[in-house]
C-alpha cells in the first residue's frame, strides 16, 4: 500500500502534464487530491504499524545480473518521516493556491519532487535509493528557477550543483561498497551486514556522510541552503527545508552510519584534538548551530532569518546523530520531524502570508506596515511557530532539543556550553525578527492607518492550522513517535552501529 505514495505522486504529475490548457484551474484540485491521498496512505500505515517491525512494501528483482532489487521497506524511522512528508505535501499545495503562472507545470514538478522524496524514505535498496535521491534534484531546479524570487537562477543553479556534488560523493562511496562486497547485491540489509575492512570504512564513511551532509546543511557546505530557500517559491521552500534537507540527514543515519559503523571509531591518533571522524562532524555540527543562529541574528531579509535558522536546527540533528546514544539519535529523528513542520510553517508565514501581500521582506520596511494589526493571523502564526522553534515546552522543538542535549551531555559534555549559547541565540533571532516584522510600528492615533492588505484566505488558515496542530501533537505526545523510533534503532539494521560505538 505504501508504495502507492510514490506511484500516485508520479501519476498525478503525469495527469497534470496531460491536462488540457483550458482546464488549468483544475490543477490545484488535482494536486491537492493527490497529496491528500498520499498523506492518508502514510497515516494509515503509521497507525497500522506494529512496533519494531520492518514492513516490506514491495520486493521485486529489478536488474538481476547486478543483484539490484526494487525493494521498498519501512521501519519506524522511515514511517515517521513519511508521515512528515505527507503533512508537508498537503500544506505546500494549500500555501500555493495563489500560483497563477504556468500552474500545471508548477504542480507537476511539485508532485515529482514529492514522489521522489517518498521514494528515498521507502527505498531499502541503495541503488534505488540513489535513483530517487537524484530525481529530487531536477524538479527543485525548475521550481526555483521558474517560480522563484531574489536571484532565482543563481540560487537554483547553486543548489543543484551542491546537491549533485553531494550525490556524486555518495555515488563513489556506494559503488566502492558494492564492489568491495563482491558486486552481488545492493540491498541495504546485505551491505550493512557485510564486514568492510576498517581502513576502507575510514575513508568511505566521511565521503558518504559529507555527501549526504551537504544536503542536510552541514557547515561549511551549507551555503546553498539560505540562498536556495530564499529564492524558492513558498511551497518549494517548505518542501526544501521541511523534507528535502531531511533526506540528507536520513541518508547520513540510514546509509553512511549503518554501512560504515567502524568509520566512526577512533583513528588511533589525534590531530588538533580530534580522535575520530565522529569528533570532527560533532564539532562541525556545533559550529553549524552557532553560526546559523548568529548569522540569523543580523539578517535584514525576513526569509534569510528563517533560512539561517534552518542551518542552526539542522546542526542539532547532525549533532544528535554524532552522540551515538539512543536518546541522542532518537532526538535527532524527532528533531527532523519537528524542524520539518516548523520550517514549513515559518516559510509559509514569511513567503506566503507576508511576502506575497507586502512584496517586501526587508525587516525595516515591514515594521512601519504594522502587520501585527493588519494581518493578525500571520503575526499569531509566526509567534506560535517561533515559540515552538525556540523550544517552548508543549511544542515539538522542546522535546527534540531536550533529547539531543541529554545525548550530548552523555557523549560530549564539553560541547554543551556552545549548544546552550546556540539555544539562547535561537531565542534572540526569533524575538528580533518577530519584533521588527510585526510589532515595530508606533501605535499612535495620529498616524495614518496602515494600507489594507488582501485578507488571509481559507486555504492558508487551514494549512497553518494543520502544521500548528502537528507541532503540538509531536510536542505533547512524543511517545507516539518514540514508540516506533526506539525499536527501529534496536533492529538488526543498526546492529553494527550499536556494536561500534554506543
Amino acid at each position: 500500500m505504501l508504495a502507492w505514495t510514490i506511484y500516485i505522486s508520479f501519476l498525478g504529475a503525469l495527469a497534470l502534464f496531460l491536462l488540457p490548457s483550458r482546464r488549468a484551474a483544475w490543477a490545484r484540485i488535482l494536486a491537492l487530491t493527490t497529496t491528500i491521498i498520499t498523506f492518508a496512505i502514510t497515516l494509515t500505515a503509521f497507525i497500522q504499524h506494529r512496533t519494531g517491525e520492518m514492513l516490506t512494501v514491495a520486493h521485486y528483482p529489478w536488474i538481476p545480473s547486478l543483484g539490484i532489487q526494487f525493494s521498498l521497506k519501512a521501519d519506524g524511522i522511515s514511517l515517521t518521516l513519511l508521515l512528515l512528508t505527507g503533512v508537508i505535501g498537503v500544506c505546500g499545495v494549500l500555501f500555493s493556491w495563489n500560483i497563477e503562472d504556468r500552474i500545471k507545470e508548477f504542480f507537476a514538478f511539485y508532485l515529482v519532487l514529492l514522489g521522489a522524496v517518498y521514494g528515498v524514505f521507502l527505498s531499502f535498496d541503495l541503488f534505488l535509493l540513489f535513483v530517487f535521491y537524484e530525481i529530487v534534484v531536477i524538479p527543485k531546479y525548475f521550481l526555483i528557477a521558474i517560480w522563484g524570487s531574489t536571484r532565482r537562477e543563481y540560487a537554483a543553479m547553486k543548489l543543484v550543483l551542491y546537491s549533485f556534488i553531494g550525490s556524486a560523493m555518495v555515488l563513489v562511496g556506494l559503488i566502492a561498497a558494492y564492489v568491495a562486497a563482491g558486486s552481488k547485491s545492493t540491498a541495504l540489509g546485505d551491505l550493512a551486514g557485510y564486514p568492510f575492512a576498517p581502513h576502507f570504512q575510514m575513508w568511505a564513511f566521511p565521503l558518504v556522510f559529507v555527501g549526504f551532509g551537504i544536503l542536510a546543511g552541514l557547515w561549511p557546505f551549507h551555503t546553498w541552503a539560505p540562498t536556495g530557500h530564499v529564492a524558492a517559491p513558498t511551497a518549494a521552500s517548505m518542501l526544501l527545508a521541511g523534507v528535502v534537507m531531511k533526506l540528507g540527514a536520513y541518508g547520513c543515519l540510514r546509509v553512511a552510519m549503518t554501512l560504515f559503523p567502524l568509520g566512526l571509531g577512533p583513528w588511533g591518533f589525534h590531530v588538533l584534538g580530534f580522535g575520530s571522524w565522529r569528533d570532527v562532524f560533532a564539532l562541525l555540527a556545533v559550529i553549524g548551530i552557532l553560526y546559523g543562529a548568529l548569522v540569523a541574528l543580523v539578517q535584514k531579509d525576513f526569509k534569510f532569518v528563517i533560512g539561517y535558522s534552518s542551518i542552526s536546527h539542522m546542526g542539532f540533528i547532525l549533532l544528535g546523530l554524532m552522540t551515538l546514544n539512543q536518546i541522542g539519535i532518537s532526538g535527532a529523528v524527532v528533531q527532523m520531524v519537528s524542524h520539518g513542520i516548523l520550517a514549513g510553517l515559518l516559510f509559509a508565514v514569511v513567503g506566503r502570508l507576508v511576502y506575497s501581500r507586502t512584496h517586501t521582506r526587508d525587516l525595516t520596511a515591514l515594521g512601519p506596515m504594522r502587520l501585527g494589526k493588519v494581518i493578525p493571523f500571520a503575526a499569531f502564526t509566526f509567534v506560535v511557530a517561533g515559540m515552538a522553534g525556540m523550544g517552548l515546552p508543549g511544542f515539538s522543538g522542546f522535546v527534540a532539543e531536550l533529547m539531543i542535549v541529554i545525548g550530548v551531555w552523555h557523549s560530549y559534555p564539553s560541547l554543551i556550553v556552545f549548544v546552550a549559547i546556540g539555544l539562547v541565540a535561537g531565542v534572540a533571532y526569533i524575538w528580533r525578527s518577530m519584533q521588527m516584522a510585526f510589532f515595530a510600528g508606533t501605535d499612535l492615533d495620529t498616524d495614518p492607518p496602515p494600507p489594507p492588505l488582501p485578507p488571509i484566505s481559507f486555504s492558508e488558515r487551514l494549512g497553518a492550522g494543520i502544521l500548528i496542530c502537528a507541532s503540538v501533537i509531536v510536542g505533547t505526545f512524543p511517545q507516539l513517535f518514540l514508540n516506533v523510533i526506539h525499536p527501529a534503532l534496536n533492529s538488526p539494521l543498526f546492529q553494527g552501529l550499536r556494536k561500534g560505538g554506543w
Binding site: W62, E134, I135, A145, E153, A168, A176, V179
Partner: protein, 498 residues
C-alpha cells in the same frame, strides 16, 4: 596457407551484400522514377527503401549461424559482432528518417547511397580481427563520411567541416597505417591473435611502443578523444544535420568496439600499468592520459559554448573520455558496460539532433539562446529534449545514469583496491557534476526563459515527432529496465569467448 571457402565467405557477408544492393537500388529507383518529385518525397522513398534494407540485414543477422570465422579472423561472426551490427543498422535507419525533412541537397539518392556504404564499412569493421580488413573498412567508412560532412554545397561551413575532417582524418589514417606496418613487421601477421602471441611474454620494445601510440592516435581521431578532437566541433556544427547524427552515433559505436578489440586482443600482454608505484609502459598509461584529458577538456570547454551543436561536440569528447575508462579496466564486464554506454549515448545524441532538426529549421540557427521558451512553443519536443539532455548528464532513471553506474562499478571491480582506478572513478564522477552545469543551461533556456514576443507554436512533422518520441522512450525504458539489453550483451560476450 588456407584455401578460401567461398560458400562460407558468402554466408558471412550476406548482411553487407544486402546493404550494398539496397544502396544501388536506392540510386536506381530514385533516379529512374522520382527525379522530378519534391525533395521530401524523394527522401521519404529513399529512406524507406534504405531502412527496408537495414531491416532485411537485421533479420539475416538474427537468423545467421552464431559462430563463423574465415581465414583466422579476416572475417568473423559471433553473437557479439551480430549484436553490434544490429545496433549499427538500427542507428542507420533512424538517421535515414531524420534526414527526411532536410532541404540541404537535391542529390537525395547519392546521400543515402553514401550513408549505406558507410554503414557497410562499419559492418565489415566490426566483423573482423585482421588489421588489413580493419583498415580498409575504416577507410570505406571515413571516405563516405568525409563526403557526407561536406554534402551541403551551398554552405561554406559544411565545406570547411569536410575539409578539416578530411585533412585530420587522412593524417590519422597515415599514423594508423604506419603503426599497423610496424606491427606486421614485428609479428609477421596481420591477425590480431597472432600479433598478440608474438608480443606475449616479451619485454616491450620501442617498435611496439610506437605502434601503440600511432594506433591510439588513429582510433583516438575516430572517437574524437582529446587531443585528437580538433575536427569535432567544426564538423558537428558545419555538417548537414543527418551527417552529424551519423558521425556522432553510428561511427562512434563501431569505432569504440573495434578500438577495444584491437587493444585488448591485439595488444594483449602489452597493457602495462599506470599506477604510480608499479609504472610499466604499455597502452593503459596512454589511455589513462587520453581519457583524463578528454574528460577535462570536453567538460570545461563545453561550459562556454553558445551553439548547441558545438556543445554536443565537446560533450562527445567528454563522453569519449568516460568510455575510454572501460578500456583501462579491459574486463568482460567493462566491455559490456562500454557497449551499453555507447549504445545509449548514441540514442540520446540522435535524439538531441532530432529535436535540433525541427528547431534549426524554424529558428534558423542552433544557438542555445534562441531555444528560449521552447517548452511553451513545442511542449512534446521539449520534454523529449529534457530526457535526452538529462540522460547525457547522467540523471537517473534515464539510461545515461545506468551506463555510468555500470561503467564505474566495472572499473572498480577490475582492480580491487587499486588506487588509480578509484581516483579515475572519483575524477569521472566529479567531471559529470561539472557537466550538469552546461546541460542544465540548455534546459534553463527551454523551460525557464520566456519565449520571444509573438512567437507561435513550432511546427514539426509527424514523422520527426514519432522518431524523437521513440528515441526518448528508448532512453527511458533502457534506463528503467537495463536488463533488457544488458543480459543480451553479457550473454553475447560470454558466447563469443572474449
Amino acid at each position: 596457407m588456407n584455401v578460401i571457402n567461398y560458400g562460407q565467405l558468402l554466408q558471412l557477408i550476406w548482411p553487407e551484400i544486402i546493404l550494398t544492393v539496397t544502396a544501388l537500388l536506392v540510386v536506381a529507383i530514385d533516379l529512374l522514377f522520382f527525379r522530378n518529385s519534391r525533395v521530401r518525397v524523394r527522401f521519404l522513398v529513399a529512406a524507406t527503401i534504405g531502412s527496408a534494407g537495414c531491416v532485411a540485414a537485421i533479420i539475416k543477422l538474427l537468423l545467421a549461424s552464431a559462430q563463423g570465422s574465415l581465414l583466422d579472423g579476416i572475417l568473423l561472426s559471433n553473437p557479439l559482432t551480430h549484436l553490434v551490427q544490429i545496433a549499427l543498422l538500427v542507428i542507420t535507419s533512424v538517421t535515414l528518417f531524420l534526414s527526411v525533412d532536410s532541404t540541404f541537397t537535391a542529390h537525395v539518392s547519392e546521400f543515402v547511397l553514401l550513408l549505406l556504404l558507410a554503414t557497410t564499412g562499419m559492418m565489415f569493421l566490426v566483423g573482423s580481427q585482421d588489421l588489413l580488413v580493419i583498415f580498409i573498412s575504416l577507410e570505406l567508412l571515413s571516405l563516405s563520411v568525409y563526403i557526407l560532412a561536406g554534402f551541403d554545397k551551398r554552405s561554406v561551413r559544411s565545406s570547411e567541416a569536410a575539409l578539416k575532417y578530411f585533412l585530420f582524418g587522412g593524417m590519422s589514417a597515415a599514423f594508423m597505417l604506419f603503426g599497423f606496418s610496424l606491427l606486421y613487421g614485428f609479428s609477421n601477421s596481420t591477425s590480431l591473435t597472432r600479433i598478440a602471441s608474438a608480443i606475449h611474454g616479451q619485454p616491450l620494445n620501442p617498435i611496439l611502443i610506437i605502434a601503440i601510440v600511432t594506433t591510439v592516435i588513429g582510433f583516438g581521431f575516430k572517437i574524437a578523444a582529446a587531443p585528437f578532437h580538433f575536427w569535432a566541433p567544426d564538423v558537428y556544427q558545419g555538417a548537414p544535420l543527418p551527417s552529424t547524427a551519423f558521425i556522432a552515433s553510428g561511427s562512434k559505436v563501431a569505432s569504440f568496439f573495434i578500438f577495444f578489440q584491437v587493444l585488448v586482443l591485439g595488444f594483449a600482454g602489452a597493457e602495462g600499468s599506470a599506477s604510480l608505484l608499479h609504472f610499466q609502459s604499455g597502452w593503459i598509461p596512454v589511455l589513462v592520459v587520453v581519457a583524463v584529458i578528454s574528460m577535462l577538456l570536453g567538460n570545461v570547454v563545453a561550459i562556454v559554448q553558445t551553439s548547441l551543436r558545438r556543445l554536443l561536440a565537446y560533450s562527445a569528447i567528454a563522453h569519449a573520455g568516460y568510455m575510454l575508462l572501460a578500456f583501462v579496466a579491459h574486463t568482460q564486464q567493462s566491455l559490456a558496460s562500454l557497449l551499453y554506454y555507447v549504445a545509449t549515448y548514441a540514442l540520446a545524441t540522435l535524439g538531441v539532433l532530432g529535436v535540433l532538426a525541427v528547431t534549426e529549421k524554424q529558428l534558423g540557427n542552433d544557438t542555445i539562446h534562441d531555444l528560449a521558451g521552447l517548452s511553451r512553443r513545442a511542449p512534446f519536443l521539449s520534454l523529449c529534449l529534457a530526457i535526452f539532455v538529462l540522460s547525457l548528464a547522467g540523471i537517473p532513471p534515464l539510461s545515461g545514469f545506468f551506463a555510468k553506474f555500470l561503467l564505474f562499478s566495472a572499473l572498480l571491480a577490475a582492480g580491487p583496491g587499486s588506487k588509480l582506478l578509484l581516483w579515475l572513478v572519483i575524477f569521472a564522477i566529479g567531471m559529470s557534476a561539472v557537466s550538469l552545469f552546461y546541460y542544465l543551461r540548455i534546459l534553463k533556456r527551454v523551460y525557464v526563459a520566456d519565449p520571444p514576443a509573438e512567437a507561435g507554436e513550432i511546427e514539426s512533422s509527424l514523422l520527426l515527432r514519432v522518431i524523437v518520441g521513440l528515441l526518448a522512450g528508448g532512453v527511458v525504458v533502457l534506463g528503467c529496465a537495463p536488463d533488457l539489453i544488458l543480459t543480451q550483451i553479457l550473454n553475447a560476450i560470454h558466447a563469443s569467448g572474449f
